[in-house]
Symmetry: C2
């Protein structure tokens, strides 16, 4: 089958179709999304080697039992061992023995086929088009903020970063009734937020915002981190959604002095993300900038890294 | 009056007795404690210039209204403006216009006299000796952890740092029923914890501890911070009690991936600290290593910085 492989070099290759292990389904990928994490991996993050990609919607074509065969599914990215203390206490997303789809020791979704354990799969309804279903994984990650403790309606909340993740987080947090400001650098992206009824502020003027009760860092840049520390009020909550490729100098003293609560936030609840998309509560189509075929995947990656580009999708047919 | 002054140089001086402003009391200092923050300030922290020190017990000798005159008091260290949004919303400890006793724009307690606003003062009962009352401020700081959300009885909690603060935090957290391990480098200090019924672990062997639900960083060293990140379980809570003099390289990615909750923790509730000391629930006398007179203050500072030394007190008479 055709697949986008990173093995130090980054190339489209003809590789063997994956073999379905016990407890797994074989899935024909229909559509996949390029995430910033994929771009970070190509730059060296996680030292991953293999087929890239973790955002997808596909059709089950082989499985133990027949109930999923023929169904369109999305899939959770953490492959837990099921056997350790973490898995047994319901923390399987944090299983220390886990593999992670397209990120750590498990081939990903930028390919014609993939395998995943049945317990990772969630069917989506017929009415939900591929172009939306492919956003379930990043939307679930945005929803994780609400799972960890939502902002109050009286809170001022700044979201730093007007990329794909920031725009999903902004929509998700809008439901809390909090006063949201999206801080970004791209007028076109911020216009989307304005259209959804959100306040926006250019990053260059963000220092004039009042102290914020909650800041969500979605920029993944050290300057975003610095800005977050400047905007957060004493005893406020700073939510970190982005991973960073590099270390930077840091002194925790301001966190202590101002009693900041810093919350790392990663993967979230798939069922809620599916439901919200099915109900049309979250707008994802405006985030799609272009759809490429798998054979154009290298070009798609180049395009995804251009200034101002939001979601780039790969269609596998 | 005699005072220990830091003005780039560090010396005992004869300075003017402070003048009581409106709303303030004039206090004759009876006893004061040397804190690691004082030592950090002499090394350049906060760029403070003036009389050092913020842990004290003293006698009110002048005040508007007579109700406090003649009473022994301890005092909160944050001098808030009383007028800003933070003060009005009950966050006066975090007032952005605040001065901080012996730390920021307000002369401290290593002197014969000091002034403080009346609202900062808390009388202590006759039965509480000076040697214990002088621990109210650091004990309140340890109690702040419980104010911010106590560990559960089923939690494993590691406290990193067997200094004064770590030993107070260890006693305070013992009341939660959690399984506490004090991680330190000084056998004599750890023996104290053992005597109080706490588990201890040498820092060199801490990596073999099981993943901890809560880690409290009280060492103030980058190696303590590193160890904290290694010990904390996914979705665990890492409480930062120490300020750090220097920046160090940091990548927040592990906080995001493991969804760590990091909580900065500073000043705490004085009334609870006073009550616990009055009820004999917290042992502070074993933490006292030596008492010097104010005229021996320079020698006391040298002594306080020696390896293995816990609390050093100054007696002002």
């Amino acid at each position: 089958m055709k697949a986008l492989v990173f093995d130090g070099r980054f190339h489209l290759s003809e590789v063997a179709q994956p073999y379905r292990q016990k407890g797994e389904a074989l899935i024909r990928v229909r559509m996949a999304g390029i995430c910033n994490t994929d771009i970070e991996i190509v730059r060296g993050y996680m030292n991953f080697r293999g087929i890239l990609g973790h955002e997808f919607v596909g059709e089950v074509i082989g499985s133990e039992g027949d109930q999923l065969v023929g169904r369109r599914v999305v899939g959770e990215i953490n492959l837990a061992c099921g056997d350790c203390d973490f898995c047994r206490s319901g923390l399987s997303r944090h299983c220390p023995n886990r593999r992670v789809l397209g990120i750590y020791q498990k081939d990903g979704v930028f390919a014609e086929y993939l395998t995943l354990p049945l317990e990772n799969l969630h069917p989506v309804s017929e009415g939900l088009p591929d172009e939306e279903a492919v956003f379930v994984e990043p939307l679930a990650a945005a929803l994780e903020i609400l799972e960890q403790g939502p902002p109050h309606p009286s809170d001022k909340v700044a979201i730093i970063g007007d990329g794909k993740l920031g725009l999903l987080v902004a929509q998700v947090l809008q439901s809390t009734g909090a006063q949201i400001t999206l801080v970004g650098k791209h007028p076109q992206k911020m216009q989307l937020a304005t259209r959804w009824g959100l306040d926006t502020c250019p990053a260059s003027k963000a220092k004039s915002l009042p102290p914020q009760d909650v800041v969500v860092e979605c920029s993944g840049s050290p300057s975003g981190w610095e800005l977050a520390l400047q905007l957060i009020r004493p005893q406020g909550t700073l939510i970190l959604k982005s991973t960073y490729h590099q270390s930077f100098p840091f002194n925790p003293a301001p966190l202590v002095i101002h009693e900041i609560r810093l919350v790392g936030s990663r993967c979230g609840p798939f069922p809620a993300a599916i439901r919200l998309l099915e109900e049309g509560k979250i707008q994802v189509k405006p985030l799609i900038h272009r759809i490429f075929s798998l054979s154009q995947a290298l070009e798609a990656f180049e395009y995804a890294q251009q200034e101002g580009v939001l979601k780039v999708l790969l269609r596998m047919d």
